[in-house]
Every structure is written in C-alpha cells, then in structure tokens.
Symmetry: C2
Subunit: 330 residues, 2 copies
C-alpha cells in the first residue's frame, strides 16, 4: 500500500458509519423497475472505487460541525452519482479498455446503455437534491455539472493540439475534475450552515486538491504500474490527449523531439516503441517531476485554505487527503 | 401544410411574444466560453424544430392566468433544453442519419461532443430552474428526466424482442416521450400557483397527447413521405425497434408472417425489399389505422382533461394541439 493510502484509510475510519449509510443510499437510489439500470449502475457504482468525492462531503460536513441528520450523507450520494454519470459518459467517449481494473461498463453493456444510465443517475442526483430541499446546494451542484461538461468539451477541442497552452490545459482539468471536488467540499459547509468564508475556503481546498489529483493522474498515465493501479498506462498517449507531462516535454524538446510529438500526439501515427520513447523524453525533461511538483504545490495551497477551521480529527484527515492526492505515485 | 399545422400556427400566434423571449433565453443560455458548445447546440436547438414542448408550457401558464413575469418563459427554455439533451443522446445511440431533415449533430460533430453538449444543456436547464427558485418545478422536471432515461433504457431492452407486450411498449413511450409533455404542461399550472387539481389535469393532458404524439411518430416511420417530414422512413424497422404497428402486424400475422418479423426485427436480417413488405403486411392488418385510432382516442381523453378550465383562446388552442398531435399523418 503506498503511503498515501493511509490518509484515506484514516478518513474512512473517521466517517465509517456515514459512509455505510451513504453506500446504502447509493444502492437504494439507483434502483429502478427497469432492471438494466441497477445492473449497469452496480457495475460501476457498487463495484467500488474509493468514494473519494463523497468522503470529502462527509468529512467537510463533520469538520463544520454538522450533526443530527443525514443531509450530508444524501448529498454525498448525489456527488457520487454525478461523478458516476460522468465516468459512464467518459467511457462511451474514450473507449477506455479498463476502468478500475474491470472491463468498462460500455464494453460490457454497450455505449447506448452507458449514456442512458448515466443520464438516469444524473437525474436521480437532482431528485435527491430536491428531496434535501436546499436551493443553494442545487445551485452549487448544477453549476458544477455544467462546468464539468464544459471542461470535457474543451478537452475534446484541445485533443491532438500541441499548441494548447498550459492555462488552457488547466481550464480543462479545473472543469472536468476539480469543479466536482470543489462542490463536494463546499456543500459540507452549506449543510452545516456555516458562513460564506468557510464555504469558500472549502471550495478552494477542493478545487486545489482536484487539480492536484488530475495532474497526478496525468503523470500516472506515463508512469504507473498497470497491474497495481488497474489503469492502462499510455491511454492518454494513444488518444493524443494534451496533458502537462506532454506539454513540458514538447515545449522543452529539440526540433527532432517536437516532430516525434507532432507525429504521435497530433497525427496519432504511433508504433509499438513510441510510448516507451515518449516516457524516455519525459524523463529527460523532468516532465513527470515537474507535473508532480506542481501537484504538491497545489496540495500545500489546499491545506493552507483550511487554516480558518479549528483543529479536529476531521481537519487533520482532510489535510492528509491533500497529501494523498499527490502521494499516489512514487 | 397538413391541416394539423393550423393548430400549431394559431398557438404560436397566441404566445408569439413569449415564444420570442423564450428563443432569446435559449440562445443566451446555451452560450459558453467553450465555443463548440453553442456551435453544436445551435445545430439542433437554434435550427428550429417546432418548439412544441415549450409552447405547451407557455400556453398552459397563460391558460392558468399567469401574467406579469417571465418564469413561464424561463421554464419553457428548460423544457426545450432537456428535450434537446435527450435528442443529442438519442442520436448518439441510434446513429440516426436524419434529424429534422439535417444531418444529425453526431454525424457532423461526433458522438463524443454530442454526449457532452447534451450533458451541458441538461445541467444548464437545472441552473435555470435553480434561478427560478421553485423546488416544486425542480421536483417535477428532475422526476421527468429520470423517467425519460428509464423509458429509453426500457426501449433498449425491448429492442428486437417481439414478445414485448403492448403494455410494456406503452411504458416505453410514456417514459421516453410523454413524461416531458406532462411535465411541460404541469409546470404551467405551478408558475400560475393554481390548485393541485389543475396541475394534475394539465399533467394528464400532457401525458395523453405525449403518448398520442409518439404513437403517430411510430406510425409515420412506416407511412411518412420522407421528403415532406424530413424523417427517414424505416428507421425503426432497420433498428428492430418494437412499436405498436409492428406488434399489431406481428400478433395478428400468420405463421409465415411471424417468421418474416422474427427474421427482420429480432434477427435484423433485412434485404432491400423487406421494408416495403413490412408496410404491405401492416396495411393488410390495419396496423397503421389501429395505431392512429389509439392516438385519436388519447387525444380526445387529453381534451376531456381540460374541461375544468374556463374557456379562453389558450384553452381552445391546447384543444387544437391535441388534434394536431394526431393529424400529422393522413
């Protein structure tokens, strides 16, 4: 187990009961008279994953002193449903062969079912929010949902385009990944009825660890041990996805190296040996190190945002989660 | 222009100003810094279509005496966004070659962009509802959205399955089509703050014309003049979709006819001449007539639901819209 997993284990221990209720809420709410819906949803929701986003909602709510109800649990389930819907739609889109080490839902059930069950989970998340009754929460999560799709479309537009700036790449990951982390944390303060300053601090904490998380994910795509992480190394490379490791290696590369990146990323003309050569070029230009340093810096910024909260085991745990986001790779 | 179009023309005339504001609201709200989003959305939203669903919201609100605001206009835009999102996701799924006579969005922009822009419009619809501020409306439209995806998944499950019962087929079209018609009408009563009895009457009116509308659509797939309707005749047949015309012809067919349907619909083994033979079998068994009669009956039931509203030009127009849903084919 990498060091970082300790942080997540501690957090899970702290909110164990909440998380169990949350898991039951998730399973109960993905039910439908149309049997394929819970079947397909179970494939991706119930099969697990780390529940990182709902854990953030639970821990943030508890750190803010929320007690005496299950609003945080219900909203944590909404966050997980929105996340799952985006995974299902992303799988359709990217034809990912692996997701959490299992065959992706669309490989098993088909694209059509994955799109529609994603839509169902998204709608169901909004039904749960309506039952919760907070227009403020509805506003935060509907805005986050729109931002996620904007980030995903921007990623599509920048794909295979090496002229993409770092700023634009950061816009992509702020949208596709960090917006939901930010919203998940923010609503913890909302259910606890905390002042706007605490809401914003938690949103910024979430935004920073979300960006860090995605930077590390993008680094892992060129560095991970496939068996250990259940993720296919080189997915991003094969799709010509523009990520920070690629941008660093490309902008710092020689003319010859640049034509390598143009052929492989822009034209998607790839041979067997190209991924390994790409990894060598990244090592030469410290591209993975630079990406991970950037993530570590953001994790530290995230931790600083929590300074206005009094010490508590929940705060300690959220501090550790920031470290976890960057310690997934060594 | 078929007779039925008159009803729609009259309705459009009655709510012309509302509809113009609604169209501007639609265009303004599909904007995004990510340029592909308004581009793709414009292809399907701004290109037109009849705006039947938002027209229902506008007319229902006006019939209920709503005045002095633009809530009905904003919510009509939400309804159109949800409808457009389902069209975009349905196109991805069905690989439809034609949609309103134009190349479908996914043929032009790709499946991936269509899924993501659909997600954006769906999220944006919820943002608009949050700005409107009615939890009741949010509840109605989030429930309708979940029901739509359940109907679409059920359609997927029943595809190519001739043992599908009529009741199950009706479940499909209640979900995929009629639920949004019902919600679109119901929220007209909600913004006008009318009693539950009127809300329910409008929901039932919408449900009935929605089912009628889809029955006619399913009939048109075996009867329409392709050039006139901008719809490819035989799409449903080629996909092996289970619709009432098929179920009537199949259940009333001889053993030989049944094996024809099994080969073409269940096994999707089709030759050039099969569509024409299918249409002959339907004519022989009055399958189109039976389908349209069922639709006409539902349109009459829809009209009866409006009896508790006092006479007004809006009521007259909604009565005529019920006729329109079944007069699209001659």
């Amino acid at each position: 187990m990498p060091d970082g997993e300790d942080a997540l284990t501690t957090l899970v221990g702290l909110v164990r009961e909440d998380l169990e209720v949350c898991n039951r809420t998730i399973v109960a709410n993905m039910d439908s008279p149309v049997a394929l819906i819970p079947q397909l949803a179970a494939h991706i929701v119930a099969a697990g994953g780390k529940r990182l986003r709902p854990l953030l909602t639970l821990a943030a709510a508890r750190m803010c002193g929320y007690a005496g109800g299950v609003r945080h649990v219900n909203l944590a389930a909404c966050v997980e449903f929105i996340h799952t819907a985006t995974l299902l739609h992303d799988d359709v889109v990217d034809e990912s062969a692996l997701r959490r080490g299992l065959a992706s839902a669309n490989a098993v059930f088909g694209n059509k079912a994955s799109v529609l069950v994603g839509d169902f989970l998204f709608a169901r998340a909004f039904e749960l929010m309506v039952a919760d009754g907070s227009l403020k929460v509805l506003g935060i999560l509907s805005r986050a949902s729109a931002t996620i799709s904007e980030g995903e479309v921007l990623q599509l537009v920048t794909q295979n385009d090496l002229s993409t700036s770092e700023e634009r790449y950061l816009d992509v990951i702020r949208g596709k990944t960090a917006a939901l982390f930010a919203a998940a944390c923010q609503i913890g303060a909302v259910v606890a009825d905390r002042p706007l300053s605490e809401e914003m601090a938690l949103a910024e904490y979430g935004m920073n660890i979300g960006i860090a998380f995605q930077l590390v994910d993008d680094a892992l795509d060129y560095a991970a041990d496939q068996a250990q992480l259940g993720k296919t190394v080189g997915d991003d490379f094969r799709e010509g996805k523009i990520t920070l490791p690629v941008l660093v290696a490309y902008t710092q590369g020689t003319a010859e190296e640049r034509s390598f990146w143009q052929r492989t990323i822009e034209e998607c003309q790839q041979t067997e040996a190209d991924l390994s050569h790409a990894m060598d070029l990244m090592a030469h230009h410290n591209a993975i190190r630079i990406t991970l340093d950037r993530a570590a810096h953001l994790a530290a910024e995230a931790q600083a945002k929590l300074s206005l909260f009094p010490d508590s085991p929940f705060k300690t745990s959220l501090m550790a989660v920031a470290d976890y986001t960057v310690s997934r790779v060594r």
